[in-house]
Amino acid sequence: MSEPILKVSNIESFYGPIMAIRGVSLELHPGSIATVLGANGAGKTTILKTISGVLDPLKGSVEFEGRPIQRMDPDKIVRLGISHVPEGREVFPFLTVRENLMMGAFLRRDRTGVNDDLERVYTYFPRLKERMIQPAGQLSGGEQQMLAISRALMNRPKVLLLDEPSLGLSPILVKEIFAIIRRINQESGTSILLVEQNAKMALETANYGYVLEVGRVVMDDTCERLLNSKDIQEFYLGATEEGARGEKRWKRKKTWR
């Protein structure tokens, strides 16, 4: 197997005295999609923040293309080619859609390349082109999500960190967004680390998955195998078991505990 483009080893991150992740390791291989699943408060967002440098880990390392990047300033990390689509979109509400996109390209100086990328994200999301001169705060939630993804793509990243892109979107829009995520991965070979609550969508989209519980990775495997795993089916995909075994349900525990 190839060298990972992004390698997180045993990181521990804190919010003040609260330890949010307790020794997490994961790998993202070039051109692949990896997903991190977990309940609310498991620490998914914290992992992404630690990678993109807005939060410094107390212990452990983050390596990008073999270089340690933990504790680097966020703008240096963005410059290396890691872009973060934050949870809850976080657009600049009073800037226009186009200005928001140009902020995604803040560190780039190649004008023609930036213009090409602008056209490219408009083909992914034609709705953004129609709303080019509207303030981003006036977009619907789904449109803001499209903008947040496009804005990150304007950096032409090698690694895209996506935090719950399906949050608050209608099922149709979720499908649409995930189709685009696959397309970005296939057309540009962008490696993607995807954090999701929507386990089904995430496992169908990604190649490899990690399951996070209270700040620890409790399970990791290829998405195919995860999709077939009993634990995942029961606790993340909401499958109910039928028949005789149903009576014993109260005894059933997650095998990783």
Partner: protein
């Protein structure tokens, strides 16, 4: 009628200075959520720098002007780096106290360096009280008042173009709208903060030099900041056009109150207007109604 126009123009000129100081408050507040109570002292220092370059060293007025503005911009970003950055993220109160302390410090240091006498700068607009005036019919307006208004308009155009057209200007707007997202874009947020302080200090210096012919330069000139504060609040504390309009409103009201009303009203007029406006519109005249969506 003539008196009225005369007072109105003087009021607008004074208001422009309030507006520029208020602009400095607002720029820093919007980006960093710090209220800089030393803004008036930055204006004072700007005046002293200009005095040093123009009167003391005998440089050409425009060159001295430019040098003073540059020095103040450097000082502004140094203050950000040395005083503000280390306490950013601590309770507002500590930062407010730090800027108030900074104001006291600046006043006493200025007193030690430049003394406590009133100083005067020779400007191209104030050489002679009878000659440097514009006459329209029997209306007489001093050049230095006109220079304040014209310079403020020009400065506002430059700032507007900077904030709306340049990459760095838009990035500064972005940072003040959503700091975390600015980090995610790779905008160097710390450098943006320094730059904001530099611009605010440069604008204060600009105001200080424009004001010099009217009030002379002394260590207490910075108390004018206390008038600019209601201007900023009136404008909605967070709106740049609001700060300027608020400044002009306060300036005009103060001037007219001083002329038409009994003595003593001049200095409280601004606050009375402020209280009235806040009574009806607690967000200020230009308060932002639109809030970020979830």
């Amino acid at each position: 009628m003539l008196d009225f126009i005369q007072q109105l123009v003087n009021g607008i000129a004074l208001g422009c200075v309030y507006g520029l100081i208020a602009l400095g408050f607002v720029l820093i507040y919007k980006a960093t959520e710090v209220v800089n109570f030393a803004q008036g002292e930055l204006l004072m220092l700007g005046g002293f720098f200009a005095f040093t370059f123009i009167t003391f060293m005998g440089l050409n007025y425009w060159i001295g002007f430019l040098l003073a503005v540059i020095c103040m911009a450097l000082l502004g970003s140094t203050i950000e780096r040395v005083v503000v950055r280390p306490i950013l993220g601590y309770p507002q109160f500590s930062i407010v106290m730090a800027t108030i302390g900074l104001g006291f410090f600046a006043r006493s240091v200025a007193g030690m360096i430049w003394g406590t006498d009133d100083l005067k700068i020779d400007t191209p607009f104030s050489r002679s009280v009878t000659e440097n005036v514009v006459r329209i019919g029997s209306l007489v307006i001093a050049d230095d008042k006109i220079s304040i208004i014209v310079a403020t308009v020009l400065l506002c155009i430059v700032l507007y173009l900077f904030f709306s057209r340049t990459r760095m200007g838009i990035a500064m707007q972005a940072t003040s709208q959503n700091m975390l997202a600015a980090y995610y874009m790779g905008i160097p947020v710390k450098r943006v903060f320094s730059l904001i302080w530099a611009i605010s200090a440069a604008v204060a210096c600009f105001a200080g030099i424009l004001l010099a012919p009217s009030t002379l330069i002394h260590t207490n000139v910075g108390f004018i900041g206390l008038k600019a504060f209601p201007a900023a609040v009136l404008g909605g504390f967070g709106s740049i056009p609001g700060a300027l309009v608020g400044g002009i409103i306060i300036g005009v009201i103060e001037q007219l109150a001083g002329f038409y009303l009994p003595q003593g009203f001049k200095d409280v007029a601004a606050y009375i207007v402020l209280l009235l406006v806040l009574w009806f519109k607690p967000d200020g005249l230009f308060g932002m109604k639109m809030r970020k969506k979830v």
